[in-house]
Symmetry: C2
Subunit: 436 residues, 2 copies
């Protein structure tokens, strides 16, 4: 018998790797935040002597979900100025609200709401791109989640940085600070090719290559962006990034709704990743990212909610459900966007897209013990034939009972362990009374 | 001071009529299941002397949602045989499962799950179309919900009826039985124009006209249905129903995804209603019903989940959210499918489509006291700018705290009052062990 910190026994387990497997009465053993054993419950129980046992008798256990794109602090403008055109929404609501309110406190409060909501709905790893990334990273470190924190690279002077040079300086300091952190990776977050100059994108390419860091960028979000690039520059932004040398396994391109076959081939051959944000794309009428084509071309595809202001929740199960529905609709094929492929995109796909697949995205020996449990004794999941379908088509975000990162509980029996929800609720209420 | 049974004080109230209004600190007074007073809380409190008061200090109160199309008992095959083509799903999964299992007990159990799920997510009125409508109606009467129960009109002999004549006979007996019931309306449920003969649809038209009852029928669900009708008969099913004399204010046509301008004009001039089921349409890749065109033509449009087997939840807030997203996407316009219009479709629109607008669909003096409350102290609704956006874009089905029909609580502080959930859970588990 080997001793271990925690033994988790699950009625059903979906490790994601190997693909499409749902195991009955399975267990995983954890030591020092790592999965050290995994298998049929009786057999694992015979092999390990745990300090603690978590019995999840009516639950589906799977890797924690990976929300591969978002702006966590934007929970605070959630629901402000709805149902407007993108330009009106940005000009009349979001930008004035940000100009008036965004500071480090705003980011801490909005990010804490986001962490609480993501933990409660099954996300254990997320990617962020917003001002004051130091505060986001610090909060993530304290709360116990896992994150890729992208520091903003923006031409103009802004609340956080005095333009690109200052932003890169602060971002690289942040990168150094978290270089050896178990749960936090710092990445470059140039907003987009149409807001950051080619010269500055070249700087991002140079620095990120030098330190082998990830880069996340909004790309081909809607038809206008692509048409404007062609009209003004005679090429698409994907072609521009190819020339700059920014494409590659370290680049994550977010949205990618309007992409020609030629650009798709460029993305695939450069092994650039894609992040799919279907709810935001639908809500802003941006178009549809043809996920099936990317996957067919062996592009790594992750799933993201985008910011709460354009979603409006941070529930990645809901995002997965929408991803499945819109794939069926757009392909005119009810077998498209199936539950297994969609759940893979929300877990291992996201890990691969963010370059985190050696640590997370599946339940395998040697990986970090980031997992969640869904209580199947829930009205919307009754009865229960196929755990993949239950999770994706059953919209299981509301049925998450447990959420663990590195073997530590962040949510136990639906209660947060590292965030005081009633204090947080009161803080949001007070912020809204004084600020808006 | 007038005495009343119950006074409900709400932080926000959305009566739906008048349109687009969100009132702060509003109250409604109820006597004998009817709304007898409504207005600014302080003023109503000065006018009435209630036996009981319900203070909803952080809540949005609105009319109970109306799920205008579904097959309640089909919660039992929820999640069975997913991601298949429509034909394979029906032939390989649904029809064999129904042939093996459907009887009165199946209908009672599946319907009870559906009622519990709908009550918990804010639906107070629903339309049903399934075998053994007597059992559905009986359960609705006991549990306290409101329903339009459509008895099936099917050519072939089936588990419930020996074809059309027997079905009409049983259905009319059921109609007589509930003729004076406060919460239950019996309607005709011919499955579709392609499964019921013209002669039998004429019978439905004749009988329903005679007793002034509603008729609900699946119509133009996908392109194949429309193309086949034109290939085999040289006309669309809408043209066929027009000739038969079935179109009119008592007819509710469900799905309506592929409809020509000419057919739309026929629907509008006959004052036929439309029921929109976007999740089912997306999941089965059936197409999109152009809701905005129907509404522009003054067609009454309700919203429905369809059966749980093709959704997979019965959460009408989720349906409303999807309706909004797909409207924006299909119209390439982020201002389409706005939260106000969508919430109207889920309440008063449904009431009008089902012919129930004198009783329910809005909070007005003289209408039945069917209302729900949403707790805004919920992570996915924080902060809170616009109650319409919070409900629709915030996916508020998980945040329903109270659900009342005719002034009686069916859900209080998130607990069911008329369904024993743990007993129901155990019954479903036992059914699945023995049956599947």
């Amino acid at each position: 018998m080997t001793s271990c910190d925690l033994l988790v026994i699950a009625r059903w387990m979906l490790p994601i790797a190997p693909e499409n497997c749902a195991f009955d009465n399975y267990a995983l053993a954890i030591t020092d935040g790592e999965i050290v054993d995994l298998g049929v419950a009786e057999e694992v129980q015979a092999r390990v002597s745990p300090s603690e046992t978590l019995s999840l008798t009516d639950h589906i256990v799977l890797p924690g979900l990976i929300n591969a794109h978002g702006h966590a602090a934007m929970t605070l403008p959630r629901g402000a100025g709805e149902d407007q055109s993108l330009q009106a929404w940005l000009s009349d609501t979001i930008w004035p609200l940000e100009a008036k309110h965004v500071n480090a406190d705003f980011v801490r409060l909005g990010t804490e709401v986001a962490l609480a909501e993501m933990i409660a709905s099954g996300t254990t790893t997320f990617s962020d791109m917003y001002f004051f990334p130091e505060d986001c990273a610090d909060l993530v470190a304290t709360v116990g989640m896992r994150a890729q924190v992208c520091f903003p690279v923006i031409e103009m002077s802004n609340v956080w940085s005095d333009g690109v040079v200052d932003g890169l300086h602060k971002g690289l300091a942040l990168y150094d600070h978290y270089r050896h952190h178990e749960r936090i990776d710092i990445a470059f977050g140039p907003h987009s090719a149409y807001t950051v100059s080619a010269a500055n994108l070249e700087k991002v390419a140079m620095y990120s290559n030098e330190i082998d860091a990830q880069v996340q960028i909004h790309m081909h979000e809607n038809a206008e962006e692509v048409h404007e690039a062609q009209a003004l520059h005679g090429h698409t932004w994907i072609q521009a990034l190819d020339e700059i040398g920014l494409l590659g396994p370290n680049l994550q391109t977010v949205h990618m709704t309007h992409v020609s076959d030629e650009d798709l081939a460029t993305i695939a051959s450069s092994r650039t990743s894609v992040i799919h944000c279907p709810v935001s794309n639908l809500k802003l009428a941006s178009g549809y990212a043809h996920v099936d084509k990317y996957i067919e071309a062996n592009v790594q595809v992750g799933l993201g909610t985008d910011g709460a202001a354009s979603n409006n929740t941070l529930d990645l199960f809901h995002e997965a459900h929408t991803a499945s529905l819109i794939a069926k609709h757009e392909n005119r094929d009810p077998t498209a966007g199936n539950a297994r492929d969609t759940l893979r995109m929300a877990t291992l796909g996201g890990a691969q897209a963010l370059g985190l697949e050696r640590k997370v995205g599946s339940l395998e020996i040697g990986k970090q013990a980031d997992f969640i449990a869904i209580d199947t004794n829930s009205l919307n999941l009754m009865p229960h034939y196929d755990p993949f379908a239950a999770l994706v088509h059953g919209n299981a975000g509301r049925n998450v009972s447990h959420s663990y990162v590195r073997g530590e509980a962040l949510l136990a029996d639906r209660s947060h362990t590292s965030i005081d929800i009633s204090a947080l609720t009161e803080k949001v209420r007070q912020w809204q009374i004084t600020a808006v």
